[in-house]
């Protein structure tokens, strides 16, 4: 077994994801099956291979950098337009620190 229910709960916690007990059981089985399959990666020799950090094509290293110029932002009204709760130009969230 590659992953236990306890590890599933731990990972869900890292991901800020609330799971039901039924989901924990289901994901334990699903992730286990997938991780067993993914283990095949160990078979392939990569000892002299660099990781592919980005998709490369022939261009100079700086070719895709744009000049660092100021441009107008969204503005707070537009930025807040989709917020579930806002006020006084801010996003509103439940209490973080007790007064």
């Amino acid at each position: 077994m590659k992953i236990t229910e306890e590890e599933v709960r731990y990972v869900a916690d890292l991901a800020n994801l609330k799971l039901t007990e039924e989901e924990v059981r289901k994901f334990q089985a699903d992730l286990d099956e997938i991780l067993v399959h993914v283990d095949r990666l160990k078979e392939i020799d990569t000892s002299n291979v660099e990781p592919m950090a980005q998709v490369l094509y022939e261009a100079e290293e700086t070719a895709t950098l744009r000049p660092d110029r100021e441009r107008p932002g969204l503005g707070s009204k537009l930025a807040l337009a989709n917020a579930p709760l806002s006020g006084a130009g801010y996003f509103k969230v439940p209490e973080v620190i007790k007064r």
């Binding site: 994901f27 990666l41 990781p51 980005q54 261009a59």
Partner: protein, 480 residues
């Protein structure tokens, strides 16, 4: 005018000859799309006001004798992971059911500047995660060729819209096959351009190193023209390429004599017999056109699925962190603390497949597992890219099946995530290597289900890929 089979050329000629106005065509297209939609659920939102306004501008330009642009009056459908200013963009998710973006994606801006008319936003798997469009929070899309079957995914709505004729062309997105696989299942042309060819600005991020925007069309020419319009450098996406965009249409001359094509043996192992037969016939038809087809090997293919599901989920777990109930419309109603609000919002908002991928991605990036999974997968990704570099030293293009099987039944694979992932087995390699690739219709099974042939080319060699696809299409596909 048969609205369901219009091409871009026919729209241009019709407007020029005053057979119809752009507003008339937009009105008729919207009505047709609304009538057809119950059969497939291809659209989530119709863009009536926006379409008529855009069409009005095209008509004004025509009246003044100005050039209305290469896409003038053409009805276009846009996948709902691509943002449209002021027009609801859901990403197929409950989390964004009422999200109204404050800006347009660059691809959207460019296609509208070229005179294109956006008729609506198309259904898709939630955040483009899936291979069947069954993961949409708004219900599945049905395949126009067989209503009990999936249209493929994740761009199933865009593929179905073009196949049923409610849009002339459409935009989709491809991270592991999400354009080519639905194009193949729905019998249309679907193109995944070179990574960086089209700006990703305004494409909701799933796996940033793998995400592409690309076109669908009912013929190669239309898909190539839509790519022409949206391609090119965009300062708002630093991964977009400076390379000049060639005139794709100028190269559709049918001349493919002497072209060297590779047929990778790793892509022929697990095909259904009908898909295998159609690909074999397609190869014969390419030989008749004067192409030289040779057997090649892409040995790292066997590890592509595993490599992909590590890298894509790792990137997704990070990209989807932003849906936390603060900025994007949906928030769980009862949470006493900030941390509970994050957890409850995400737990209630995401569907099962997104949760599964967030979990897998978080796991492979978590402390102690990074080297074994993520770093290893990035190295294997280099090997997969190297396979293509080696192959393209010997051949001009690669031909292969798109999917091992034609469209499957709705519900058939939804409870078996691994089986669903394996349906992308021949498409994910192109995304991992960042090479241009496409699906072109090659024929139908006895049951009438479309099968697509895949063409892959070297980075930025879309021109060669289109020329081959167009010649194949003109020759009548596999039956030529």
């Amino acid at each position: 005018m048969d609205i369901g089979s219009l091409t871009i050329d026919q729209v241009r000629d019709g407007l020029r000859a005053r057979k119809f106005s752009s507003v008339e065509l937009a009105t008729a297209s919207l009505q047709f799309a609304r009538e057809e939609n119950p059969k497939t659920s291809a659209y989530l939102t119709f863009a009536e006001d926006r379409a008529l306004e855009a069409a009005g501008r095209v008509d004004e330009k025509l009246a003044r004798g100005e050039d209305p642009g290469p896409l003038a009056g053409v009805p276009v459908a846009v996948k709902d992971v691509i943002v449209t200013k002021g027009l609801r963009t859901t990403c197929g998710s409950k989390l964004l059911a009422s999200y109204i973006p404050p800006y347009d994606a660059t691809a959207v801006e460019r296609l509208e500047a070229a005179g294109g008319i956006i008729v609506g936003k198309t259904n898709c798997d939630e955040f483009a995660m899936g291979s069947s469009t069954e993961n949409s929070a708004f219900g599945p899309v049905r395949n126009p060729h067989a209503p009990d079957r999936v249209p493929g995914g994740s761009s199933g709505g865009s593929a179905a819209a073009v196949a049923q004729g409610t849009a002339v062309v459409a935009l989709g997105s491809d991270t592991g096959g999400s354009i080519r696989q639905p194009a193949s299942f729905c019998g249309v042309v679907g193109v995944t351009p070179t990574y960086g060819r089209v700006s990703r600005y305004g494409l909701t991020a799933f796996a940033s190193s793998l995400d592409h925007i690309g076109p669908f069309g009912r013929c190669v020419r239309d898909a190539a023209l839509l790519l022409q319009v949206i391609a090119g450098r965009d300062p708002l996406d630093s991964t977009s390429a400076e390379a000049p965009v060639p005139d794709y249409l100028a190269h559709l001359d049918g001349d493919v004599k002497g072209l060297k094509l590779g047929l990778p043996r790793e892509y022929l192992r697990d095909l259904t017999s009908e898909t295998g037969d159609l690909i074999a016939q397609a190869v014969d038809s390419l030989k008749k056109l004067g192409c030289e087809v040779r057997d090649i090997s892409l040995p790292a293919t066997d590890y592509a699925i595993d490599c992909y599901y590590v890298i894509a989920t790792a990137e997704a777990s990070s990209n989807l962190a932003r849906y936390d109930g603060v900025r994007y419309t949906f928030r769980s109603s009862s949470s006493a603390t900030l941390s509970d609000m994050y957890r409850n919002t995400r737990g209630e908002g995401f569907g099962a497949e997104c949760k599964r991928r967030i979990m897998l991605g978080t796991y492979v990036l978590s402390s102690g597992y990074y080297d074994a999974y993520y770093l290893k997968a990035q190295k294997v990704r280099s090997l997969i890219a190297r396979d293509f570099t080696n192959a393209f030293a010997e051949v001009d293009a690669i031909v292969a099946p798109v999917s091992p099987f034609p469209a499957f039944k709705i519900g058939e694979k939804i409870d078996d995530p691994l089986a669903m992932y394996l349906s992308d087995i021949y498409t994910i390699t192109g995304d991992l290597a960042g090479v241009p690739c496409m699906s072109v219709p090659c024929g139908k099974t006895a049951e009438g289900l479309p099968v697509g042939m895949q063409i892959l080319a070297k980075h930025f060699e879309e021109t060669r890929m289109f020329r081959l696809a167009d010649a194949f299409e003109r020759a009548g596909g596999a039956h030529g």
